[in-house]
Assembly symmetry: C2
Homo-oligomer: 491 residues x 2
């Protein structure tokens, strides 16, 4: 007889009924070929003793096996594993954690290029995290959001709300987003021009998927948002890079590329460029719009934190200008609220949006309708605008403060241009302080820098990192600065 008492060992703390657990174990023993077809199980009394369980538990477990068609009761002989089951070749059990996947892995060109700039998360919980430039969750209007959640999660309201899945996103949110964008960004759009996505990244993904064919020539800035960059490469695009200076993308260099190659698409971040934080000037924008028309370019305009501009108001997006529908405008409410509220949007021509909706079904059957309805209410009530105004003040002060601190305390170590807006600085470290040295030291002191880092050598002559200040307290800023101050130059 099998050593059931050692084969069936169970977790006391389980929520599941014990008989279910026993039955499941017996079934897996059958499936693994340990318990062979035709075998008679021990009598319920005997098994109860073996497993130190009440006999009724065993009886229920056996009935379970019979009910599921794994075993049958034979008069006066007991419970037998069905003999007709095809024999399973017995083999050692491989717990899933030992899956030797790579051996099977034949996905070739589907292989994803990991990016060295993607910083792995350390095991130990850090005291301070400096992110890529995220809003401060402790400023989020959680009470207002919870109030809305409570409103929409009343059983009948919820049933009503979810009766029909709106593939383009919650109807009210599409409408209020169209209104919000028309007022704040001078876009002239209708709800049908808006696709609500699960974060801006999904909007970038869908736009790229619809527009990029393997071998297509595209243009991005150098440097550019690295996840989008990886995405385009993984879709098979040939990526041309045009440098960014203090006024935005280098128009002369761009023109040269457009002249020399058949460029299909441009990915651009004119406002608080990622990673450099540069905002493109008005005159360059107009030249760019002319180039877009002349070369009939598709454009993905990524405007991830438009609403947080500190010097006067933000400059209107390219998509607000007259164009033939080739500018796909992408933004997010996540940057306004908090990283947990992943609601982004794509603005495009109605038929492009309907194509995007069709594609989106493959990726994601829809967003969190309750959250979408809640955000729509926040827009309609004006709470979203009030929240933007409130938090913008806080971020602006934090920006001033961190810039002062760095300029005063670390002139020998870091250089940067104070951004016109956004939630991060683009810090260049002096060559005597390579990030490969600085970041581990900070980590040792419990300071985790998770912003996009461009290491010296690995990325040409970079030695830069995105320094998200928006969610840092003054105290945290001072700690980071004093920790940096203690680092000795590499000679």
């Amino acid at each position: 007889m099998l050593p059931y008492h050692s084969l069936i060992v169970f977790d006391e703390k389980t929520n599941r009924p014990v008989y279910r657990f026993i039955a499941n174990r017996l079934i897996s023993l059958i499936q693994h070929g340990t318990l062979l077809p035709g075998t008679f199980l021990p009598g319920t009394r005997e098994m109860a003793v073996l497993l130190k369980l009440h006999r009724n538990t065993i009886i229920k477990a056996y009935n379970e096996l019979i009910a599921q068609g794994w075993a049958e009761a034979i008069d006066r002989k007991g419970i037998q594993i069905i003999a007709e089951l095809p024999i399973v070749k017995p083999r050692s059990f491989n717990p899933v954690k030992n899956f030797p996947v790579s051996e099977h892995h034949r996905n070739g060109e589907r292989e994803v290029n990991a990016d060295h700039r993607f910083i792995p998360i350390t095991e130990k919980k850090p005291d301070i995290v400096v992110n890529d430039g995220f809003p401060d969750p402790s400023l989020a209007p959680v009470e207002e959001i919870l109030k809305e959640y409570r409103k929409y999660m009343k059983p009948n309201v919820l049933k009503e709300l979810l009766a029909i899945k709106q593939m383009g996103g919650n109807q009210e949110l599409r409408a209020s987003t169209a209104k919000f964008l028309s007022e704040s960004r001078g876009l002239n759009i209708l709800p049908e021009n808006v696709l609500i996505t699960h974060g801006a990244q999904m909007a970038i993904y869908i736009a790229a998927l619809l527009l990029i064919k393997p071998g297509d020539e595209i243009v991005v800035s150098e440097p550019s948002y690295f996840i989008a960059d990886e995405l385009f490469r993984n879709l098979g695009a040939k990526v041309n890079r045009v440098p960014v200076d203090q006024d935005g993308i280098d128009i002369a260099a761009l023109t040269e590329v457009l002249r020399s190659k058949d460029i299909k698409l441009m990915y651009i971040i004119p406002h608080h460029h990622h990673p450099t934080t540069v905002t493109m000037t008005a005159s360059r924008r107009i030249t760019l719009l002319n180039l877009i028309r002349t070369y009939n370019l598709w454009v993905i305009e990524d405007d991830y934190d438009y609403d947080f501009h500190y010097q006067n108001s933000p400059i209107l997006p390219l998509a607000s200008a007259d164009h033939q529908g080739q500018i796909i405008y992408i933004g997010s409410f996540t940057k306004i609220l908090a990283p947990s509220f992943r609601v982004g949007y794509m603005v495009a021509g109605a038929d492009f949006v309907s194509k995007a909706i069709n594609t989106r079904r493959f990726i994601d059957l829809g967003g969190d309708t309750v959250m979408e309805a809640a955000i729509s209410s926040l827009i309609e009530s004006g709470e979203l605008s009030r929240h933007i105004k409130r938090s913008k003040k806080v971020y602006q002060n934090r920006c001033e403060l961190v810039c002062k601190l760095l300029t005063k305390e670390l002139p020998h170590m870091v250089t940067f241009t104070k951004p016109q807006g956004g939630m991060a600085l683009w810090l260049q470290f002096a060559s005597a302080y390579p990030l490969s040295v600085v970041l581990p030291i900070l980590a040792q002191h419990g300071i985790q820098m998770i912003g996009s880092a461009y290491y010296k050598g690995v990325n040409k002559n970079y030695n830069h990192i995105r320094f998200g200040f928006a969610s840092l307290s003054e105290d945290e800023m001072r700690k980071i600065v004093s920790c940096l101050k203690d680092i000795a130059p590499k000679t």
Copy 2:
């Protein structure tokens, strides 16, 4: 002078300051080439009269233009649009809704195949919606969920929770999901084997993206879940179809296909198959497991509503058996809670999961951490299991009731096999009642059937539809049945 009063018309109900609106309009006039470089704007007094606004508003709007670099103040002459701005070729303004996208649309093989089975949503709000088989939102444990939301959305808790984005999903949820699946499905897994996704669809998408190369031969059942089917075709897979009978997929036919072709991947729904609701028998599962090993197949096992089985307990998934890591197991919490709570998971080998995480970044930077943490708490507290138990009873009663009604009232019209579980019936309509006739009639009576429909002719000899009963009240069921009863046969 330009007819500013007609060019600048604004919405009284805007949340935005009026001066911002005026500035935005003037900027778009510049961008559209209506307001030409070098033009002097009317004096602030004059403009105030033109637009019937207070002069200070105009002054602020003009300052805005200057601040944004669109205009400059010329001594004793007024405000001039910067002359150095490159001239924009004037052209008629095309509102975004008129984007002539198709003309530009050159994405060829990226074109998405729309599916005729995807039923468009009617404008008029229906009285009753019969879905594809979704849970009843009014049963969802909203109070418990809101309690958890409130807990995790306390400012500092939230900040802590969101400090570092867990790309694989909230750590606690990965751990409790591993525990939940081990207990309920006999899987033997660790948190590292679990990827939390924004709904099961995203898990299917990522698995397919990693495994399917254009030209790869794959196997699916006939019929099969149509969105997955479209996805595979869009990824360039050659799709082989094997019929489903009352015991599940036809093993003999499958073996034949495996013998004759180099099949890389199989997509299968052994438990409450979609759309047919059939549950695969134990003995077929064992044969199937042997075939998977013999032919070294990749398998995507879609187990979308495992937890709602009415006859005894559900049969353990294929992934719970001994395999070499080629079975990717996919499930969802959405079907347990409500369509708004889009949290799904992929279970696979640790290195497959890490590849999936890397790919997921392109599509979606992460889930709703608060919701994920809340669901984890529901699992740990046992509330999720209690909710499953409660709602399962309700759905089982609704299943009994709808089956009785249909058998009693509509024997001449519909045939079906009572499912062992799940939230939908697979209704075959007699050929005298083609869906193309029945569905519009129902719609006229305010009954919208949005379940997957397989129309006669379009899909071979089908005349079937998924009839989701789980969220229907007895009253609604009776209304639908009596409405169907009045439909005359097509002669």
